[in-house]
Assembly symmetry: C2
Homo-oligomer: 406 residues x 2
């Protein structure tokens, strides 16, 4: 029998218990042993709940119980999760977590403690919810240099942008709607400002580079500035707008960024709608691949956590994760990244065109007939630093700039 | 140092050598040891080729060399591949293969020999080329009951159907074009009749059920009967036509089928175009997921083979694959599967409607104005056996039937 402790009986924690209840027979068959949830750690009691007898309030019970071989951490936040996880690993217990904040900040250290003790620190559910991406990067795409990972990594903002694009709704309306049906929190900052996606791309960047990428170093722009007008231009261009979290190799550096981007229909992420997430990967020999699914939600996330528990159970005394070192990777300067830009500008296109051509090169005008007194244009591929310099001359006229992907 | 022998120096075999050359440093880092291709087995010589000194013609050299720990089989076909692979496994050498015919027919036996010897028989490249699907099923989706796998598993036919749909071209023209640019073989039967996709869905069905599914038992219909007219109806209905290979759980049985199907835009496979492949998976707790990428081609396939070699190297004396037993799974009778059907029929819709309603229930008429003397209709959800019985009364009038997915 393999004994497991679950730390945190919130949404994901109760999902983990439900998944083990529902698919226990199949899971035991895959492990070759019986999986038993011995403790559920939470501050609260749950009278009447099936786990009521397993509820404990003291972490020491878990860390001091030699029967516990695997610990699930689904409390969220940095503390006390970090202290608890570290002590479990030091006590020789493998840990599976869905906690992206913890992994983004302390992943390198926790991985190295797990390696020292020949056990595992697994975190499939921390990126992309139920979508397998960490394990494929760790054990499937091992013949490749990963040159790009670009993802739609936040379901809340993707739901909102999908509504705005297909229904022409404005930002405030869709945010209220998302909050009303539980897709967005009352304080939506972590989602709409891109912080959630940023932590996830920091984790993926660390994994593919093998070095620490701090999310604070990644340029991060949310969707709060996206308007009904922007969506009209996007449609006129045959594009859509998605919040992309991206990490691209340029030489020995990575260019990492989180920002709303215009995508053409040929891009595999173009059709990823509603709360779905997807992760596009380009390998130097594999070519293009994409992983798509439910990026959040109780059961999909719990499915990924329990899959990690199964893997930990099958590798009780064998470390299987690729490491990333604690020394920081130098990211490419944001100004050095090359791409095209879409700009909305006040004024008259025909009048401005000669100036714009002089400043930006061979620009392409985009018009939305119903929007009077403004127009849009697309720049050729240029460095973002050069764009900034040139755009500075027009700062009184520029209404909005959105990056173009691909 | 880990010594590898490659059996077969055709497209995939030379790809494997190229991948190891290109990404060797990274691959060695992941294994923690140096990977060395010691032999390349082929009937031919390759004077001037970088591998010329490694070329051998006698299989006995490989099986008798204790230095060889991993063997790559990329010869294709059942014999002599089967005999060679079996002897390698019996000699305690792990095997990685891209050979779907071999895996579909002898997978269960070869997996059990590998398990006996505590080594591995790996075949990621046999389904979906470079797309990771076998390993995710084996080690990521382990908390789930997989209730459905539906894939676009053949790039040639997907390329042809994409051309027919978007360009209105007819079957013979796109086949010639596919042959001219190397996407279809001179004898295209294995692709266009669905046999290739059928072997792949047989492998996936065996994996998710844990029992042997013979491809000969799966109903298989290719794309040779798909016409320009069919595509016009598909467009009128807002659908597209894809060759789907599908396996769905109904109770303790699987319903497996390969057939061209109409798909609505909401389906994740709707936008999978050209030579790309994709595999849709539904798990009982995971929900929907999809894996997308290059389903064939020299380097993507070689990427998957080399990833298997890396996994074999990291698990030299530890069996990691889920088994499937040699006893055959009873598939659900084709007649018992439920779905909607689209039918093209000679005659006049208004005149026939009362009869059709009497026979099929609440049918929906579809018209393509430019196609005179015929019309289309969609049945409600019904068993295929019931459809067959009822359609039999109209067999003189029915021009074509296409199944509707979802």
């Amino acid at each position: 029998m393999i004994n497991v402790a679950v730390m945190g009986y919130g949404t994901v924690g109760s999902g983990v218990v439900e998944v083990v209840d529902t698919n226990g027979a199949r899971i035991n068959q895959r492990i070759g042993e019986e999986l038993n949830i011995k403790y559920v750690l939470d501050l609260r009691d749950f009278p009447g709940d099936p786990v009521q007898d397993k509820i404990i309030h003291d972490f020491e019970t878990i860390v001091n119980d030699d029967d516990i071989q695997i610990v699930v951490e689904v409390m969220g936040g940095i503390e006390p999760a970090y202290t608890f996880v570290k002590r479990c690993l030091q006590a020789g217990k493998s840990v599976a977590t869905s906690n992206k904040a913890l992994v983004a900040k302390h992943g390198a250290e926790l991985l190295s403690i797990a390696k020292e003790h020949n056990i595992n620190f697994l975190f499939e559910a921390s990126v992309g919810g139920g979508i397998p991406i960490i394990r494929p990067l760790n054990s499937s795409l091992t013949a490749d240099e990963i040159e790009e990972i670009t993802g739609i990594l936040n379901g809340t903002t993707n739901y909102m942008l999908t509504k705005m694009f297909y229904e022409g709704a404005d930002y405030d309306t869709v945010l209220k709607e998302a909050q009303a049906n539980g897709y967005a929190e009352r304080n939506p900052e972590a989602d709409v400002e891109g912080y959630d996606a940023c932590r996830k791309i920091a984790i993926l960047s660390s994994l593919i580079s093998g070095q620490q990428v701090d999310f604070e170093d990644i340029y991060c722009e949310g969707i709060t500035q996206i308007t009904v007008e922007d969506m009209k231009y996007a449609k006129a261009m045959g594009t859509t707008i998605k919040l992309l979290a991206s990490s691209k190799r340029t030489g020995d550096r990575l260019h990492a960024i989180v920002a709303p981007c215009m995508l053409y229909p040929e891009h595999p992420l173009y059709n990823v709608n509603d709360v779905f997430n997807a992760i596009f990967v380009h390998g130097n020999v594999l070519g293009d691949a994409m992983f798509y699914g439910s990026g959040a939600g109780k059961l999909p996330t719990a499915s990924a956590v329990v899959a990690d528990v199964v893997d930990a159970a099958k590798h009780l005394n064998r470390n299987i994760m690729t490491m990333w070192k604690q020394d920081k990777l130098t990211l490419e300067d944001k100004g050095d990244a090359k791409r095209r830009f879409f700009i909305r500008m006040k004024g008259d296109a025909e009048k401005e065109l000669p100036n714009l051509k002089y400043s930006f090169g061979d620009v392409e005008i985009v018009k939305v007939p119903e929007l009077a007194g403004e127009f849009g244009f697309i720049t050729p591929v240029m460095m973002e630093g050069d764009y900034d310099t040139r755009a500075n001359r027009y700062k009184e006229q520029i209404l909005h700039m959105i990056r173009i992907e691909g």
